[in-house]
């Protein structure tokens, strides 16, 4: 039975099963992959299409229902000649698409709006787009773009000349494909003949198990090609991000350490692997009592890993001076305890990719934020040399740390290797949430001491971090937190201790900030408490203690350059004072049910790996035909690395960036630029890209035998070099095309930020530079319901130098949105919130207007002064919101998220009972 319909104005037909989801038919059967799948449950709106002109989730429409109707997808928005629609163009110009995976849904929802209302108000825009979740942008620039269509608001971008790309609001290098539906993500690229792989995951948090025979399954399901088990792993059945820690098995080997752990993988055709029910796969579990939270510390707790008695993975420690002694002499000491839960990354693109064996090599095309780490990890799982694995990253539909660890790779890689056939996999939202890493839950007790005049004298803290079932990034978190635990303040005496603890829960890994957001709630709440104790303005108290150039951090690192917290706070003083006064006026005049408050949070964050080498290498080549190409291994995960690398490399070389080509990500075609984490790409890879451009320029100038000030004109097949009166032409076709990737000249540079190891007291220089920032949040609390609405955020961040202000703002908006989620609504509970309707991330209506103040205190080791912003943007938001809740209600929230029931309970406990 064929189903006929109109697709983007053209006749279409499918023989798909009538109950098949429209989204799957569009993507997998008809090749219209512009429609994205984020949840298959109507929770995220990424698959929004127009059905007879009305927006629907294509994942919820049986294809039978489109018979005879009009379906419009993102591919139908642009004109037939490819010219973008006004709406698409506005999204492109305003930076409304970051990773781009929600963008088709946003565009279709906005198209639906404009069909009904050509002049919508802001609220009408929000209502119309409210069914689409975005995890990158914080929605601000999407709203700006839609408003621009309603009422044009000038030109928001520049197309810079040669030498003018640094600091310019350039369009995204990969921006058009994000708005026209042609961008290819992990689930969009597999060949038609690829087999599908699906994991069978443990329903138990802690268990042992045995496998039965799969003969019956094979007999019943002829489309089942193979059931992969731990015994099938060709190399070492263990992976993990540290070179010497490979504790997480690709397939569990008799032991279940968390609910959602992969036990076996079904490999076969789609109908088979998604037709087989989990309960029909012969796995006999013997459950045992799971250890949740910090229960593993109990004397009688079982060992989750035999190697770790007491279930303690590791300790972290920083000690400077004599904190206990100094605390005893402080005029004011405040102490409190704080807790946070698991937080899910919530990228709208679930993990996906495909793999194939090519002779004695393995190629994996996958959504990732760490191509070279993936390569090396897969090599040891397969038992082949690193160079025998090729990782070809797709566009990454959001990462935030969650796509640093391996995802679908082991399953598809092992299957493709053994079967010698292409194998694909796309995790469902449910398994993405169950199996991927999370932010570490924490419990922190900290003390801060100061003089009555407001000078900090001592800080101490101890913090436990639940690292879940496997190590993942637990060692990084336990090291990063003590280094940053004081917050961005100068403190003479510091002692900070951390522990990473195993539990029978989802592995906790890397998530935007590596433990620092958790610690920031503690240090900045204590800062508020001290300011209150001594009667000093909260902002002025922070400004007084802000760490500045010439001062030493808790690890004894002397800050020589780029420490702009004081400038951030000064920039915020005016909005801070006005907002505080306005809130107090509002409260004085209101009925007491709605109360407003304004809070402040500060942060600092070391860019790059902690005390470890983390170099990036970049190449810029010029071919015989004159084509200039940047070879960048710095993975763009939506933050805009493709664009910023082009900007700094173009200026390094002295070419217009729109004349330069980009090859990115592919480990066979780009050098190792490390991972997109630790806010290191703009800083570390950016420096390498700039210098690679400069290196190529130097080579050209040497070839032309001219001085440093010469200008280069890039023409087809030739270069014209002008130095004063001297004009030299270089015929590129006369040069040997024997350099890297067939180029005639290649500039190369490697940058490894200056960092030194920490000694046993945690003393040393762990990072080359630090990002600083401060944010003011204004909230309205409904004291009878405990609901908190964030009304406005003012965010000032010292980014050294903004390579692309539009993208920096986008990072700040997105960071604030995630910080807001952490503060108010996000808590992942294994087995209970494995979807996007029980696990809540901020929607279009939850993120307030955000004013961004870019502070540029240049970092000399960064490219043109730049340093990182990815993680810093999130860190000050939760303490700012908690401070605002306190200002509004007098209640201190000490547990994140501050959900309505928790806020209401705190208000009741403080005596705010209603009559």
């Amino acid at each position: 039975m064929s189903i006929s319909f109109s697709l983007n104005g053209k006749p279409a037909a499918t023989d798909a099963a009538p109950a098949r989801r429209l989204a799957h038919v569009l993507r997998d059967d008809l090749g219209f992959t512009g429609t994205k799948i984020g949840c298959d449950a109507g929770d995220c709106g990424a698959c929004t299409v127009l059905l007879d002109g009305e927006q629907v989730c294509a994942c919820l429409v049986p294809v039978a229902q489109v018979s005879g109707r009009d379906v419009m997808t993102v591919e139908g928005l642009a004109a037939s000649d490819g010219r973008l629609s006004d709406l698409q163009q506005a999204f492109h110009e305003y930076g409304a698409a970051q990773c781009g995976v929600c963008t088709p849904g946003m565009l279709m929802a906005a198209s639906d709006l404009f069909k009904h209302n050509e002049t919508p108000t802001d609220d009408q825009i929000l209502d119309a787009l409210g069914g689409v979740l975005c995890r990158c942008t914080g929605y601000n620039k999407i709203l700006d773009a839609v408003k621009h269509v309603v009422r044009p608001n000038g030109v928001s971008f520049v197309n810079p000349d040669a030498g003018g790309a640094m600091g310019a609001r350039t369009l995204k290098t990969d921006g058009i494909q994000k708005v026209d539906g042609s961008e290819l993500f992990g689930a969009d690229v597999a060949p038609a003949d690829a087999l599908w792989a699906r994991a069978i995951r443990s329903p138990h948090h802690s268990a042992t198990f045995t496998l039965g025979s799969f003969d019956e399954l094979h007999a019943k399901w002829p489309g089942l090609v193979r059931v992969l088990t731990a015994a099938d792993v060709p190399g070492n059945n263990g992976y993990g991000i540290y070179p010497d820690v490979k504790d997480q098995p690709a397939f569990a080997d008799g032991q279940i350490r968390f609910k959602g752990e992969a036990v076996v993988a079904l490999v076969g055709d789609y109908e088979t692997v998604y037709g087989i029910r989990d309960e029909d796969v012969p796995v006999q579990y013997t459950p045992r009592e799971p250890l949740f939270g910090f229960a593993g510390l109990a004397d009688d707790a079982h060992r989750i890993h035999d190697t770790h008695p007491g279930n303690i993975l590791a300790h972290g420690y920083v000690k400077k001076g004599d904190a206990a002694g100094a605390m005893a002499g402080a005029d004011v000491v405040v102490e409190d305890s704080f807790a946070t839960g698991f937080v899910e990354h919530g990228y709208i693109e679930p993990e996906a990719g495909w793999a194939q064996r090519v002779g004695d090599r393995l190629e994996i095309t996958v959504s990732t934020q760490a191509p070279y780490m993936d390569r090396d990890e897969m090599a040891q799982l397969i038992g082949i040399p690193n160079e025998s694995v090729r990782i070809i990253p797709t566009a990454c539909g959001g990462g935030f740390g969650g796509k640093l660890d391996l995802g679908v790779h082991p399953m598809i890689g092992i299957a493709a290797w053994i079967l010698n056939r292409p194998v694909r996999c796309a995790w469902t939202r449910i398994e993405s949430m169950a199996a991927s890493t999370k932010r570490h839950p924490s419990r922190i007790t900290a003390r801060y001491g100061c003089t009555k005049d407001g000078d900090l004298v001592a800080f101490d803290m101890s913090g436990d971090f639940n690292t879940g079932a496997y190590v993942s990034w637990g060692l990084t978190v336990k090291d990063r937190v003590p280094v940053h635990a004081t917050g961005p303040y100068f403190v003479p005496h510091v002692e900070a201790k951390t522990r990473a603890i195993f539990a029978n829960e989802t592995p906790a890994g890397a998530f935007r900030g590596f433990g620092i957001p958790q610690a920031a709630i503690a240090h900045d709440t204590l800062m508020d408490m001290m300011a209150e104790e001594i009667g000093m303005d909260i902002l002025e108290f922070r400004l007084r203690n802000a760490i500045r150039k010439g001062q030493e951090t808790a690890t004894g690192q002397l800050l020589e350059y780029s420490a702009g917290l004081d400038q951030c706070l000064e920039a915020l003083r005016d909005p801070w004072q006005k907002a505080r006064a306005a809130a107090e006026k509002f409260n004085a005049e209101s009925d007491g049910v709605k109360r407003r408050g304004v809070g402040l949070g500060c942060m600092w964050y070391g860019c790059g790996n902690t005390s470890l080498s983390n170099p990036s290498t970049m190449h810029v080549g010029i071919a015989a035909d004159g084509a200039v190409t940047l070879y960048s291994g710095a993975q763009d995960i939506g933050q805009g690395t493709n664009t910023t690398m082009m900007q700094v490399a173009a200026d390094g070389l002295g070419i217009r960036m729109d004349k330069m080509h980009l090859v990115w990500g592919d480990t066979d075609r780009t050098a190792d630029a490390g991972k997109s984490s630790a806010s290191r790409q703009a800083y570390v890879s950016g420096r390498a890209a700039m210098e690679a451009g400069q290196d190529l320029r130097s080579q050209i100038l040497r070839l032309a035998n001219v001085g440093d000030g010469a200008a280069i004109e890039f023409g087809p097949g030739k270069l014209t070099v002008t130095d004063g009166d001297a004009v030299r032409e270089i015929d590129l076709s006369e040069l040997a095309a024997d350099k890297l990737h067939g180029n005639v000249l290649v500039g190369e540079a490697t940058f490894d930020p200056p960092a030194t190891p920490l000694d046993e007291m945690g003393q040393g220089n762990p990072y080359g530079t630090y990002g600083f920032g401060a944010q003011v949040a204004e909230v309205e609390v409904d004291v009878d319901l405990g609901t908190v609405k964030v009304l406005h955020v003012w965010a000032a961040h010292d980014v050294g130098a903004a390579i692309n202000p539009t993208q920096v703002e986008g990072q700040v908006h997105g960071g604030v949105a995630q910080g807001l989620g952490l503060a108010l609504m996000e808590e992942y509970l294994p087995g209970r919130t494995e979807n996007l309707h029980d696990y809540l991330i901020p929607t279009f209506g939850d993120v307030p207007p955000i004013d961004v103040y870019l502070i540029e205190d240049p970092e000399p080791t960064g490219p043109y002064g730049a340093k990182g912003i990815g993680e810093p943007a999130l860190i000050p938001t939760p303490p700012a919101i908690f401070g605002a809740i306190h200002h509004a209600t007098g209640v201190r929230m000490k547990q994140a998220p501050a959900t309505p029931d928790r806020v209401r309970a705190a208000i009741l406990a403080a005596g705010g009972d209603k009559s």
Binding site: A17, R20, L785, G786, L840, T843
Partner: protein, 278 residues
């Protein structure tokens, strides 16, 4: 391959149900989320092509919402003011995508304790029209929804529509939904109320239903009795006490504790009543 029926005639649908084994699908907004990561291997009866099933109409003593009517159909329908609460609930169901596909009747049949449509329909004393090859029957919505994911629909029946008894022309209604975010949120507590005033400005009848605080949205009879005959003014909400919430039996879950739900329900009931007196 499993069967997929999409009849245009009601009789055909009812015959298929009589033969047994079909899962009824309309907007798919509850069907598919329950089947993530698996093929559809059950027989489906798609009711969206059935002639006339989507209508919303004034039938004199009652209004009729056909089983195919979507939330958007309800929002766009020309209905008396006292449908405001139900329309407000419709606007808060999922995103516009869900409102465009999901049906009011499907929401009732899914029988979630947090069904957005239930408080409004319960407050309006809606009845449910069920059809089968052996005829029709009409039962109260509170008899139809029997518990969490449990309804009185027999396997050979389908819900044909809802009847909403007409209220007085000057009746008014209000709806409040409490959730932890703005859009796409499952409620922690919902309250819907319908007020009909007597000629002297007092409460003739005030019907109040609370959702997400028991397996099925519940009316508050003691409160309704206590408020009957009282003046419709700012003092009305002040008469509401925690004791009036006795019919509720909330559970604690990821969205909020049981204690919080009761506490918030009291606030929301008062606010809903206040909204009706303003």
């Amino acid at each position: 391959m499993p069967a997929y029926l999409r009849p245009t005639e009601l009789g055909e649908a009812l015959e298929a149900l009589a033969a047994g084994g079909h899962t009824i699908v309309a907007g798919g907004t509850d069907f598919y989320p329950a089947r993530v990561g698996r093929t559809i291997d059950e027989d489906v009866l798609d009711v969206t092509a059935i002639d006339g099933l989507r209508r919303i109409e004034d039938r004199g003593d009652h209004f009729y919402i056909g089983a195919g009517a979507t939330w958007t159909d309800l929002i766009r329908a020309d209905l008396p003011d006292w449908f405001r609460a139900l329309k407000q609930a419709a606007r808060e169901v999922g995103g516009v995508q869900i409102q465009n596909a999901g049906t009011v009747v499907g929401n009732i049949c899914n029988a979630s304790p947090a069904a957005d449509g239930m408080p409004g329909l319960v407050a309006l004393d809606a009845t449910v029209v069920l059809g089968s090859v052996s005829g029709e029957r009409v039962i109260a919505i509170t008899d139809f929804v029997q518990g969490n994911r449990k309804t009185a629909r027999k396997p050979d029946e389908m819900v044909l529509g809802l009847r909403i008894p007409a209220c007085g022309t000057d009746a008014s209604s209000a709806f409040l939904k409490l959730g932890a975010r703005k859009y796409l949120v499952i409620s922690i507590v919902m309250v819907s109320a319908v007020l009909e005033k007597a000629a002297d400005g007092t409460v003739d009848r005030l019907r109040i239903a609370v959702g997400s605080c028991s397996e099925v949205a519940r009316r508050l009879p003691a409160l309704e009795a206590a408020l009957a005959g009282k003046p419709v003014d700012a003092s009305l909400a002040g008469l509401i006490t925690a004791d009036h919430l006795a019919p509720l039996s909330p559970i604690g879950d990821v969205r909020g504790s049981a204690d919080y739900r009761i506490d918030a329900a009291l606030t929301l009931v008062r606010r809903t009543v206040t909204e009706l007196t303003e």
